[in-house]
Every structure is written in structure tokens, then in C-alpha cells.
């Protein structure tokens, strides 16, 4: 009985391995987009979240467990961003190749410099990540690093098509370097522009562009801003010379719109990730449109 069960299971397990394409489960759309760039037609990419979702708070839905069960490669931000749901997907999906330490497990934050590592953490500080700020994708240099990591992992998992991955990586690298050159120039012109942010998710963008963050609407990360804190923020923003109040598509609008109404500083919804706004359809247009929106705001009278 037990042997028969094991046999049936083994048969069920061997079947999908013969499938042609590498199945990639990305936790966020930016990593799905990168996987599509490097993997091309050799991979099937699924993103666990979409551009309008806050990846902190996702339910470990049955469909995601099924996706984790079948994935050959897991590609996430890491640094605790998915701590509320990814461990459950990994445990219930119980797919060995995507477990931590396996070649099919990529956490972006493990490969780049993570900012805002707190010295001490306590729950009273809100939804804070002891591992540092996980939103590393908003610095295009990090995307370039992850492209390399991804290509080598894909080549490891699917050695037959290693050449194709290397080729696509070379092509992506060239196009990305050229694009970054353009963005660097545009970012230079934005250097020193003062902004208020809703959540502290923008630290990599702020660091890379040289923007200056003068206030954060959420005093305690992950807890909606309180009225008294907003009054403080209003005070801080008023005399600061801030040119924009930045928020992500998933941040509630009310706080930033309220502040904008009081101060006359425009509230700007940046795409934050691929698909966060209609014009940010891939990684290139994500940065193009983000810079475009910042420039537009700066140039307002």
C-alpha cells in the first residue's frame, strides 16, 4: 500500500520535470519582469503580486501554494518583505529546489547592499524589517546585479540552454547600461530636490537619484499615519521646500492628498514597480516614467 502510494507519487513528480520551460515564481512584478528579460521563451514567469499590491501583506492563497509547488525558481526581494506569506508557500508547497540555500532560491537583498538596517528593533516601531529596507529594486544598479545572478542560476537549473541565458543577459546588460547612462544624467538634474514620502519604501530611489527626503507620513512603518503625526509632518513639510509628496500605488491616498491640499505641494503617485502605472510596463519604462514624473513635478511653477 505504502509502496504503491510512493510509486504513484514518484510518477506524478517525474512528469512535470520533463516539461520544457523553467517555471519562475516571482514575488514581485519587477523580478517577474527581469526573469522575462533573461529567460525569454525558455521560462514561464508568474508574479505572486501585481503592481497595485503591497507585497508586505499578501495572503498565502491556495493558488500561490500551487505555484510554489510547481516552481523551479523563486525570485523575491527578501529582507523580510515577504515574511508574512512566503514561508508558508515554501512549507506547504514543499518544493525542494526553491528552498533557502538551493539554486532555485534568489532573494535580491542577499546580493546587494541593503540600506536602513536598524540597530535595534521592537514591535512598537511598527512593521519594521530587522534585515533592512527590502525595496532594493528602485536602484537600477541593483537590477543589473540581479540580472547576473539570475542568468547564472537559470544556467545552473537549465544547463541545456545556458548559452541562451548568457546571450540574453549580454543583450540586457548592454541595453540596461545605455539606459542607465541616460537616467544618470536625468537624475543629476534632480539631485537635491526635496520630497516627502508616504512610506519609507523609496530609500533606494532617493539614494540613487540624490533626492532629499524631508519627511515620512508614516511615523511608524506599516501603521497608518495618525492625526497628530500628520500635524507634525505638516509643520515639517511647510517650511522645507519639498516639491513633491511621493506615494506608491498601494498607499492609501488620503494622507498624501490631505497634506497636498494643506501645503499646495503636489502629491505624486509613482509606479513603484512594473505595472504600478499603465506606462510602467517593463523595467525600462518603470525608471523612465518614474524620472519623468519627478521631472514634471520639479518643473511645475
Amino acid at each position: 500500500m505504502r509502496m504503491a502510494l510512493a510509486g504513484a507519487l514518484a510518477a506524478a513528480l517525474l512528469a512535470p520535470a520533463a516539461e520544457a520551460q523553467v517555471r519562475v515564481l516571482a514575488c514581485e512584478p519587477e523580478w517577474a519582469a527581469l526573469a522575462a528579460e533573461i529567460g525569454g521563451d525558455d521560462v514561464i514567469v508568474h508574479s505572486a503580486t501585481h503592481g497595485g499590491q503591497d507585497a508586505h501583506h499578501i495572503r498565502a492563497r491556495p493558488s500561490l501554494i500551487a505555484k510554489a509547488r510547481g516552481a523551479d525558481l523563486l525570485f523575491c526581494s527578501g529582507a523580510g518583505l515577504e515574511a508574512g506569506w512566503l514561508p508558508l508557500l515554501l512549507e506547504r508547497g514543499a518544493r525542494r529546489i526553491v528552498q533557502p540555500g538551493q539554486p532555485g532560491h534568489i532573494m535580491a537583498a542577499d546580493h546587494v547592499e541593503v540600506l536602513e538596517r536598524p540597530e535595534a528593533v521592537d514591535r512598537s516601531m511598527g512593521d519594521i524589517h530587522p534585515e533592512g529596507n527590502p525595496h532594493v529594486h528602485l536602484d537600477p544598479r541593483n537590477i543589473a546585479v540581479l540580472a547576473e545572478v539570475l542568468a547564472s542560476r537559470l544556467a545552473h537549473i537549465d544547463p541545456d540552454r545556458a548559452a541562451a541565458y548568457r546571450q540574453r543577459l549580454a543583450s540586457f546588460r548592454a541595453r540596461w547600461a545605455a539606459a542607465m547612462e541616460g537616467w544618470r544624467k536625468r537624475a543629476e538634474a534632480l539631485r537635491g530636490m526635496k520630497v516627502a514620502v508616504h512610506h519609507k519604501a523609496w530609500v533606494y530611489l532617493v539614494g540613487w537619484t540624490g533626492l532629499e527626503r524631508v519627511a515620512a507620513l508614516e511615523r511608524v512603518s506599516g501603521v497608518p499615519p495618525t492625526a497628530s503625526h500628520l500635524a507634525d509632518v505638516l509643520e515639517a513639510v511647510r517650511g522645507s521646500g519639498a516639491r513633491a509628496i511621493l506615494r506608491a500605488p498601494y498607499d492609501p491616498e488620503d494622507a498624501s492628498e490631505w497634506l497636498s491640499g494643506r501645503t499646495g505641494i503636489p502629491a505624486v503617485e509613482l509606479p513603484f514597480t512594473v505595472g504600478g502605472r499603465p506606462e510602467a510596463g517593463d523595467l525600462f519604462s518603470l525608471f523612465d516614467s518614474t524620472l519623468g514624473l519627478l521631472e514634471e513635478t520639479r518643473d511645475r511653477p
Binding site: 498565502a60 491556495p62 500551487a66 514543499a94 518544493r95
Partner: protein, 497 residues
């Protein structure tokens, strides 16, 4: 000053040499300039050799670990003993309750103390201490203690003590084996700790059929099957020591099987359905009728009168009717001990829709479960419940029983609930629950409870809830108000779908 600095520099260079010299030149005589130079040379060579060896080692390690290539060097952390401590979480739970009726029995069902309602006024609910962690690369373990105040004493219940396989254990993908004591897979709520519930109390079917939750000793194998649709099947073997079983003799008297399906509907909603079977034997299962038996007897006494009026003709159909005449039939089921086969069948569904994709902002969840219990065996009443103990109970056969009742029949129950998060911190919900007692109990009506709740969630870790229940048990009505807080600190496991 300059002279002193030079001395320090010289000392810094010379000191290690001098310290190393006795070791390097232990057999040589007093050091001369020549021997010193030779020793320094020897030292240098020695270090170079060591460095070369280390470099070779590093190269070998790099070659061995292709999976880790590209990984940035992890930041140096102090790995003291504490870093291997299990994750510890504490759940604190307290409430204020008020009821219009003093008695809380469910006519036709036994009520274990896990599913009794809390006392009137201020009280602590279940506090929990949970520890979990990876044991090694193949196993994970956990321990949960439930602390509850009962009759003025603090009771510690071992809610969970389990080990389970990790995905790297060598079992095929998707397979998990869990053993020990755990909240086993049955329906929706059973697997989750009560502090994760949407209402302050478990719905009627959970209270009546599972005494809150089924956390027997045993083992369960679950398999998530490959494919786009979520498909999970599983089976378990259990001791049979927990409700709906009890008094296990062989230590392997119950088994379970289940299947679940799930998926998405569009981008922002998801569903899951399941079917479950829990089957086994009970030996003298006795879950009701202890310290508060006095109160219940009074409650049941009323039913007795009603029953005799309503169900007299039915009684005549029973052959054994004569000995039973003095007792309410419901009393067998509420206070009797059951021995026989018991089989619980359940189905559940859950649907969750987050209009913006972010369940944190707003979400609607619909959930329901239906349980059906079939029992085939005997209910036995203890002597204290016999108003007129028959003569044969004096015989010293070791049983304090005076009456038994053969039972072969069904009881069922279900609930359905809707919870709506209308603001990021506020949720409201309604629940309807219904129980159909066994026909033989001759209760004559179904029991139902309507509940409504409003809760405020400051963060993921703190929640305050106001709940209103109305029990309608035949003609009796009980209005209940519960104000509850549930807060957790420390490590907190991810909540599933």
C-alpha cells in the same frame, strides 16, 4: 615625543618576533643577529605556507558551492547561543462577558470545558505560549501551551507538541509528514489557533462536535499535488483520545482523510473548498457533566418536562423505553459517556476578495462549514444522574452506571459567516450557526446562534473586539455580549488563507 613614537613602532614590530622566537628557536642558543634573521625568515616562510593553504581551501570551497555563487558575503552577526533559540510567541487574551441566561448547555450535546463559554464579567480567555523552530535541515518542531483559568485554578493544556518534515527532508516534493499533537486538518477553523478566529467564540458545530478543536495525538501525511489548481490530499492516524473520540484503548483508534481544492477568481479574489472525514472509536467518552453539572441538570430538567409532553408517542416506539422513562433523553447525550463508533464528516468553503488587491485595506471573506456526525454505540449515564437508581447498580461490577441507551444515528451542524473590513483597522461581521441534535435526544428543536461583531485592529498584533450573540434554543433565548482583546507579542507565525 618623536623618540617615544619611534620606540612604540619598533616595539610593535619587535614584540611579536620576540614572542614567537622561543617557539621557533627553542633549541638554538641565545639569539644573535644572524639567528634572529634566520628565524624571521623561517617564520615568514611558515606564514606564507599557511596563507597559500588557506587560499587553496577558499578556492576549493568556492568550487564546491555553485549554488551560493554570487551571494554577497553575509554581514557579520554575533552568533551567540541565543541565535539558536526557537521563535517564541505569546498570545494574551482577555474579555468582559455578559449573558442574559446563567446556564450555557447545548441540549442534546455534551459540552467539554474547552468549549464552555467564559464566566460572566471579567475573565481571561486562553493565553498561549508557542515555541517553534527548525530542528535541523530535515525537521521542524513546535510546542504550544494553552493557559486557562478554570474554577479558580490555572490549567495548562498541551495544545500542540509536534514535529514535521521540512521540504529538504528527502520526501518527494509537496509531501509533508507531521507527528505528535497538533491542530489537525479538519475543516477550516480546526487548524488555526483560536486567537486567529474572527469571532470571540467558536461556532456551535465546533463546540458540539470537536470541543473547540481536534488536537489528538497522531500523525498526518499531506500531499500538495502538482498543477495550476491547488489540490491537497491527506490522511492521518490518531490515538483517539480527543473529542469526538476518547478513552483510547489500542492507542490507534481514529483515522482521517481529506481533500482540498483551491484557486483564484480573477486577480483579487481566491477560494478554497474541502471535504474531510474523521472516523474512529470512543470508549467511555465523557466530555460534559463535571463541576457545573448541577446547573446543567436544572437546565436539562426543564427539557425533560417538555420532552415528555412532546415526544411521548416516540418513546413508545423504543423497546428499551421502560428504564429510560425517568430521564430526559437529551441527558444521555449531554451527560452520558459514549462508547462506540463515531464518524465525523465535514465540508468547508472560504472565499476572500480584496477589492484593491490589498487585504490590508479592505476585504470581504465568506466562510462556511457543515459537519455531520454518525454514532453507533451506547450512551451510559452515571449513577449520580439517576433519580431512581435501579437495584442492579449496587452490584460490584466496577461500573457506576445505572442506565445505558443504545444509539445509532446522526447529528449535524453548520455555520456561515461574512466578515468585511471596511477600513484598514475596522472589520465587522455576522455569523449564523445551527445544530440539529440527534433524533433520539428528542430535543424537538434545532439550536441556533446569530452573532455580530465589530473589531478594531491597531496592528497585525493587537485587536479589540465587541461581539453580540443571540442563542435561540427552542423557546429559550440568551443574549450575550462579549468585549475581547487579543494581542500577541514575539514571534508570530504567518496566517494562511
Amino acid at each position: 615625543m618623536r623618540g617615544f613614537a619611534r620606540f612604540v613602532r619598533l616595539a610593535a614590530i619587535g614584540l611579536p618576533v620576540l614572542l614567537a622566537a622561543p617557539a621557533a628557536g627553542a633549541q638554538s642558543g641565545p639569539p644573535t643577529a644572524g639567528t634572529l634573521a634566520a628565524e624571521i625568515d623561517a617564520l615568514k616562510q611558515d606564514y606564507e605556507k599557511r596563507i597559500a593553504a588557506l587560499e587553496a581551501q577558499v578556492a576549493a570551497m568556492k568550487a564546491q558551492a555553485p549554488a551560493a555563487e554570487g551571494k554577497a558575503a553575509p554581514t557579520i552577526r554575533r552568533a551567540g547561543d541565543n541565535s539558536f533559540n526557537p521563535a517564541i510567541g505569546v498570545v494574551l487574551n482577555g474579555m468582559f462577558s455578559d449573558y442574559s441566561e446563567d446556564s450555557s448547555s447545548l441540549p442534546g450535546f455534551a459540552l467539554g470545558h474547552e468549549s464552555e463559554r467564559p464566566g460572566k464579567g471579567l475573565s481571561l480567555g486562553h493565553s498561549e505560549v508557542a515555541m517553534s523552530g527548525n530542528i535541523d535541515d530535515k525537521f521542524r518542531g513546535g510546542l504550544t501551551l494553552g493557559l486557562g483559568a478554570h474554577d479558580g485554578e490555572t490549567e495548562v493544556e498541551l495544545e500542540e507538541a509536534y514535529v514535521q518534515t521540512l521540504p529538504g527532508s528527502g520526501l518527494p516534493d509537496g509531501v509533508r509528514l507531521k507527528a505528535g499533537r497538533a491542530l489537525w486538518t479538519f475543516g477550516y477553523l480546526n487548524e488555526q489557533h483560536a486567537h486567529g478566529d474572527d469571532f470571540a467564540d467558536r461556532p456551535l458545530p465546533y463546540r458540539a462536535f470537536l470541543d473547540g478543536a481536534y488536537n489528538d495525538d497522531g500523525a498526518e501525511l499531506s500531499v500538495v499535488l502538482p498543477g495550476a489548481l491547488y489540490k491537497e490530499v491527506g490522511a492521518g492516524l490518531f490515538r483517539g483520545g480527543d473529542t469526538p473520540f476518547g478513552g483510547s484503548e489500542s492507542g490507534r483508534e481514529a483515522w482521517s482523510a481529506y481533500a482540498r481544492l483551491g484557486g483564484d477568481l480573477g486577480r483579487d479574489s481566491a477560494w478554497r473548498i474541502g471535504a474531510y472525514l474523521l472516523d474512529g472509536e470512543a470508549h467511555d467518552r465523557k466530555i460534559g457533566g463535571h463541576a457545573h453539572g448541577e446547573e446543567e441538570e436544572h437546565g436539562a430538567g426543564h427539557d425533560e418536562e417538555e420532552e415528555h409532553g412532546a415526544g411521548h408517542d416516540e418513546e413508545e416506539e423504543h423497546g428499551a423505553g421502560h428504564d429510560e422513562e425517568d430521564h430526559a433523553h437529551a441527558e444521555f447525550f449531554s451527560d452520558g459517556a459514549f462508547t462506540g463508533d463515531t464518524r465525523l464528516f465535514g465540508v468547508d468553503f472560504r472565499y476572500a476578495w480584496a477589492p484593491t488587491g490589498n487585504a490590508r485595506d479592505s476585504e470581504l471573506t465568506l466562510q462556511g462549514e457543515y459537519f455531520r456526525r454518525r454514532e453507533s454505540g451506547e450512551y451510559t449515564l452515571e449513577e449520580e444522574h439517576c433519580e431512581d437508581p435501579s437495584a442492579d447498580s449496587d452490584e460490584p461490577h466496577g461500573h457506576d452506571t445505572c442506565e445505558t441507551k443504545r444509539f445509532d444515528g446522526d447529528a449535524s451542524g453548520w455555520y456561515a459567516q461574512a466578515i468585511y473590513k471596511f477600513l484598514p483597522r475596522w472589520r465587522t461581521g455576522v455569523r449564523y450557526a445551527r445544530l440539529s441534535p440527534p433524533d433520539d435526544a428528542e430535543v424537538g428543536y434545532d439550536l441556533s446562534t446569530v452573532s455580530a461583531m465589530l473589531d478594531w485592529t491597531n496592528s497585525e498584533f493587537g485587536r479589540v473586539r465587541l461581539q453580540y450573540n443571540r442563542d435561540s434554543f427552542g423557546g429559550a433565548r440568551d443574549d450575550q455580549v462579549i468585549l475581547q482583546y487579543v494581542m500577541s507579542l514575539g514571534a508570530h507565525g504567518a496566517h494562511g488563507f
